[in-house]
Amino acid sequence: MWQRLKSRRFYWGFIAIGLVLGLMVATQFRVARQQAQAVPIQRFNELMTDVQRARQEQESLQARVDRLRGELNRLTESPDLAALRSELDAVRTQVGVADVAGPGIEVVLNDSSATLQPGQNPNFYVLHDEDILKVLNELRAAGAEALAINGERITAGTEIRCIGPAVLVNKTQRLTPPYVITAIGNPETMEASLKMRGGVVDTLRYWGIEVGIKRHPLVVIKAYKGATGFKYARPAPAEGGE
C-alpha cells in the first residue's frame, strides 16, 4: 500500500518536472527567435519613415513645379504670344496637365456586397485592376476626352495595378474602393456604351460588383500631378531613319 502510494507520488513528480522542463525549453526557443525577428521590424519602421519622407519630398517638389509653370505662364502673357499660349493650353489639355470641365458621367464601382456561400472564391467578387481598365477603355472607345479615378487624372501613360486591396495609379497614388470614375464627353454615348447588352457593366454585375452610373451636365477633372517631359523618348529625326 505504502509502496503504491510512493510510486504514484513519484509519477506525479516526474510529470511535473517534465512539463516544466518542456515549457522552459520552448519558451527559451521562442525568446531566441523573437530576437532574430526584432531587426527586420526595426528596418520595416525605418522604411516606413523613409517612404513618408519621400512622399513629403514629392509633394513639395510638385508644389515647386506648379509654381514654376505658373511663373512661366505669367511671363508669357503678352498679346504677341497669345497664339502660342493657346497652343500650349490645348496641348496641356491633351496631355492631362490642365484642369478641365465639361459634360460627362460619373461611374461608381464597388466590391460585391453579397454574402458568399462556403466554397465560393471571394477573389471573383472584388474589383480587379482589369475591371477598371475595361471600364476606362470602354469610356475611351465612347469618346471620353478626359478621365479621372478618385480624383487622379488618367493620362495616356496611367497604369492601374492591384496591390492588396488597393489600386496603384500614376506610379505613386494608392486608391481604395469605392472607385469613382469621372469622364468628360458625350454623357448619353458613354452611358449607353457601358450599359450595352453583354458589355462591361453586365459582366461586372454578373460578379455582384456594384456599378452606378450618373450623367452630369458639368464634371470637373483636375490636372495630372507629376512630372512632364521624357527621359528616354526623343523626337525622331525628320526622315524616320532608324
Binding site: G22, L23, R92, Q94, V97, A146, A227
Partner: protein, 238 residues
C-alpha cells in the same frame, strides 16, 4: 519501473513543448510576424516615389531655365514657350519619337499546331493587349504603339466585331507592341513570374519580347480636337 517513469516524463516534456508552441501560435502579436512582403512593397513604393521626385526635379530645372530665358526678352520668351509646347506635343503623342525600349510580338496559336486543338484555338483578345500595355505603362514606358498606332490619352484597344480596333483603326494579328523606356525594366515587367507573358503562353499564344537599343514610334494620326472638355482658367483654380 524506471523505464515507465522515464516514458511518463518524456510524454510530459513533449506536452509542455506543445502547450508553449500552441500558446505562442495563438497569441502571436502581429508585430512578431516577419513582414517580408510588406518590406518588399515599401521598398518598391520608395523607389517609385524617388523616381517621381527625380522627374519633378528635372522638370523644375528645365522650367527655371525657361523662366530665366523668358525674363530676357520677347524673343527668348517666345523660344521658351515653343520648347515647352514641343515637350507637351511629344508627351501628347503628336510627334514621332525614338529611344531605347522593347518590341513585343504576340501571335494567336495557329490552328492545329497541337493535336486536338483544331476546335479550340486561343485568339488574343483586346483585354490581353490592354494588360500588356498596362504593364508597360506601369514599368515606366514613355510612348507605346500597337501595330503602328500610337497610344494617346484617348486611345482605346477594343474588340469591334471580330477585329481589334486601336484609335478606331482595325489591327490584325500578329500584334506588335513597341514601347520606349528602360528596356530591362520593361521586359522584366512582362516576363515576371505569373505575369502577362506567362499567362499568354499558358493560353497557347506566342509572346516574344525583344529588348532594343532604338525603336521608333510614329505620331498619333488622328486629330485631338476636344469637343466637350474645356480647360479651366487659372483664376478659377483653387
Amino acid at each position: 519501473m524506471p523505464t515507465r517513469l522515464y516514458a511518463v516524463a518524456l510524454v510530459a516534456f513533449v506536452l509542455g513543448l506543445l502547450i508553449t508552441v500552441q500558446a505562442r501560435v495563438a497569441g502571436q502579436p502581429p508585430g512578431e510576424i516577419l513582414p517580408a512582403a510588406r518590406v518588399q512593397e515599401l521598398t518598391a513604393e520608395l523607389r517609385r516615389l524617388e523616381e517621381a521626385s527625380a522627374g519633378l526635379r528635372r522638370e523644375a530645372g528645365e522650367l527655371e531655365q525657361k523662366i530665366a530665358a523668358a525674363k530676357q526678352g520677347q524673343t527668348q520668351a517666345r523660344a521658351a514657350l515653343q520648347t515647352e509646347i514641343e515637350k507637351y506635343r511629344i508627351q501628347a503623342g503628336l510627334v514621332p519619337v525614338v529611344g531605347p525600349g522593347v518590341e513585343v510580338m504576340i501571335h494567336n496559336m495557329p490552328a492545329g499546331s497541337l493535336p486536338g486543338t483544331e476546335q479550340y484555338v486561343f485568339a488574343v483578345r483586346d483585354e490581353d493587349l490592354l494588360r500588356v500595355v498596362n504593364e508597360l505603362w506601369g514599368a515606366g514606358a514613355e510612348a507605346i504603339a500597337v501595330n503602328g498606332q500610337r497610344l494617346v490619352s484617348t486611345s482605346e484597344i477594343r474588340l469591334a466585331g471580330t477585329f481589334i480596333d486601336v484609335n478606331l483603326q482595325r489591327i490584325t494579328p500578329p500584334y506588335t507592341i513597341v514601347a520606349i523606356g528602360d528596356p530591362d525594366v520593361l521586359a522584366s515587367a512582362l516576363e515576371i513570374e505569373g505575369g502577362v507573358a506567362e499567362m499568354l503562353r499558358a493560353f497557347g499564344a506566342s509572346c516574344l519580347i525583344k529588348k532594343k537599343d532604338t525603336v521608333r514610334i510614329p505620331a498619333y494620326e488622328g486629330t485631338m480636337a476636344f469637343q466637350y472638355a474645356r480647360p479651366i482658367k487659372e483664376e478659377v483654380r483653387g
